[in-house]
Symmetry: C2
DNA sequence: TTGTACGCGTTATCAC
DNA sequence: GTGATAACGCGTACAA
């Protein structure tokens, strides 16, 4: 089909015998056009198979109806799930989602932010509050609304929708201590550039202090996200001189890896050692035994995020952060410590 | 920051004391600009914090460097993983990924295709070959390159990168029959609009015929993707008058659900019943026992897809479909049938 | 209610 | 190697 070129507003206008302005109005403010004219125009549009040119539209109107999201990786089920919900909700409101990923690298995240901004996104969804004030300034200067998800901090510079990682993990840790555990291990994602992971570790330490334990005695391993890495970390932990009676894991996937490895090492769970996760994804329910975890509705977070960002973009409300609930899911991987 | 507006090419040109054409050249074909001039321009760009306007660029050049992908859902780990690899590879080549999802609904997929096309994507990644010829015609008319992933069919109208679902499942089924299984059950995703699922079911039936069994005796349950749905389907299967000795599952997630439910029902695996999956995602390695499955490199598929679509877009090659290898992963959930 | 005409920020085609 | 300038397709004052 050489020489092919898409029909334009002008083509439609000619065919319908009206001006381009009228065609444009039919598209954007149909009620400002007489019914008869509108019908003619709509016929012409249908006959030509016309679709408005996106680039031209952006240039003329400065709006893209596109929202960008930068997540660490889609390979983590919690982001995949939340993002899916985010995209569904966005789509219903006529917005399109542009996705990028940072591989947990702040440099890449900044680069992606700039890319998406140059593409004219109307708003941005980011994960967690950890980023340079420089890039936040940049967004402010460019006037791009940004929303933080998967974390909640009412005092941060950007609005957020998420849950309180510190509080949620504290609740779990308090319960664990209350049933007698005193020797504590933890497997976490890297805390350096991940405020969610950091908050969860801090929570465990804080609760240890509360309970009269020395937080320095926490046997902590940081590692990449994954089942295998969780298994390896578990091996490191049990090679420690003092075997913990409980291993907190920063998420369910690490917990599944740890649990698997415990079985490989011939340990009984929870008799020999207890293991907990975080997120309550399916994996925590199919292991034997099932994993005690913290329930979070990632789908709900995605939906809420879409509502909020659209509201901010359309200036229908001043922003305020919203906090989502979490709840403990006590399952068989955790048991009372009997000395 | 009222009255704020981004610096443009013209601003940069003024500041650098050159024409807009030169600035544009610095951006697109730097080697066609004298070093001295280029330095001046680059300084000006840095000072002003200039970023090219995407919409304008599209209008002038007809290229968006954007590729659209429409997948059934990001909540399925195999798509999440493949898409992540796709996006990483694309990003390295300077392309951006636009994601949409169809929820396995052909109507929604068509709508999403049109949306992405109107946004000027340079190319499209689609899943599977199942779609109306009407929409394929549409893509052809509009001259939008489209690539199919997660399926391989050299005779289809669109190029594809994927593996042969039929052959892969046949291989597994032949092995299963060779170790003595004769009463066969299967849990599959809906086959109506999913050619991958359909091919896997057909493979099992075909191999049954090959082995002298009546394919009509296959106890087949179709259901949604998920662990819970796998469990329910398993219950339905075992309520059947003739208990199968093997249950093929269309994917690992369904298999994990089935396996879990088997244990709930007090059955021993693989002594009482064997279960197999497909995809070889982590979940198949953390269940007890581990699940026999078909290994597929979804990451590799994503990477290959990105190479191929860029090559097609940049007309560096005529298209031809590429087929990826699969391999059996025989694990403890499958055992010889002893009567 | 409808039409005219300009601007949006870039790229590309010419001359120079 | 560089500069002027005409597109690109749409939205929107403004005028009629």
């Amino acid at each position: 089909m050489p020489g092919f070129s898409a029909p334009t507003l002008t083509d439609v206008a000619k065919k319908a015998g009206v001006s381009t302005a009228t065609v444009s109005r039919c598209l954007n403010t149909p009620d400002r056009v007489a019914k008869r004219t509108r019908d003619k125009v709509e016929d012409a549009i249908a006959m030509l198979g016309f679709t408005p040119n996106f680039g031209a539209r952006v240039m003329a109107s400065k709006r893209t109806y596109t929202i960008g999201a930068i997540i660490p990786t889609m390979e983590n089920a919690i982001f995949a799930r939340g993002l899916q919900a985010f995209q569904d909700a966005l789509h219903k409101q006529g917005y399109t989602l542009l996705v990028a990923s940072s591989s947990y690298d702040p440099k890449i995240e900044e680069e992606q932010i700039r890319t998406l901004v140059s593409r004219g996104v109307d708003g941005l969804l980011l994960i967690g509050h950890d980023r340079s004030s420089e890039i936040v300034n940049y967004l402010q200067e460019k006037n791009i609304p940004a929303l933080v998800a998967w974390a909640h901090d009412p005092n941060a510079r950007l609005p957020s929708v998420g849950f309180d990682n510190f509080a949620a993990m504290s609740e779990l840790a308090r319960y664990v201590l209350s049933i007698g555990h005193r020797r504590i291990g933890m497997i976490s994602s890297w805390t350096q550039t991940n405020d969610r992971a950091r908050a969860r570790v801090m929570a465990v330490k804080h609760v240890m202090l509360e309970g009269g334990l020395n937080p320095d005695n926490l046997v902590l391993i940081e590692t990449d996200y994954g089942i295998e890495t969780g298994s390896k970390a578990f091996d490191t932990i049990i090679s420690n001189s003092r075997l913990p009676s409980i291993v907190f894991c920063g998420n369910d996937v690490l917990a599944a890896g740890a649990l698997k490895q415990a079985k490989v090492r011939g340990m009984k769970i929870p008799e020999d050692i207890s293991i907990t996760g975080f997120d309550d994804i399916e994996i925590s329910r199919i292991t034997t035994p099932r994993i005690t975890t913290v329930h979070v509705s990632h789908r709900r977070m995605g939906t809420e995020a879409s509502k909020k960002i659209i509201r901010i973009i359309e200036k229908k409300a001043f922003w305020q952060s919203t906090q989502l609930e979490t709840s403990l899911e006590i399952r068989a991987s955790l048991a009372k410590k009997i000395d």
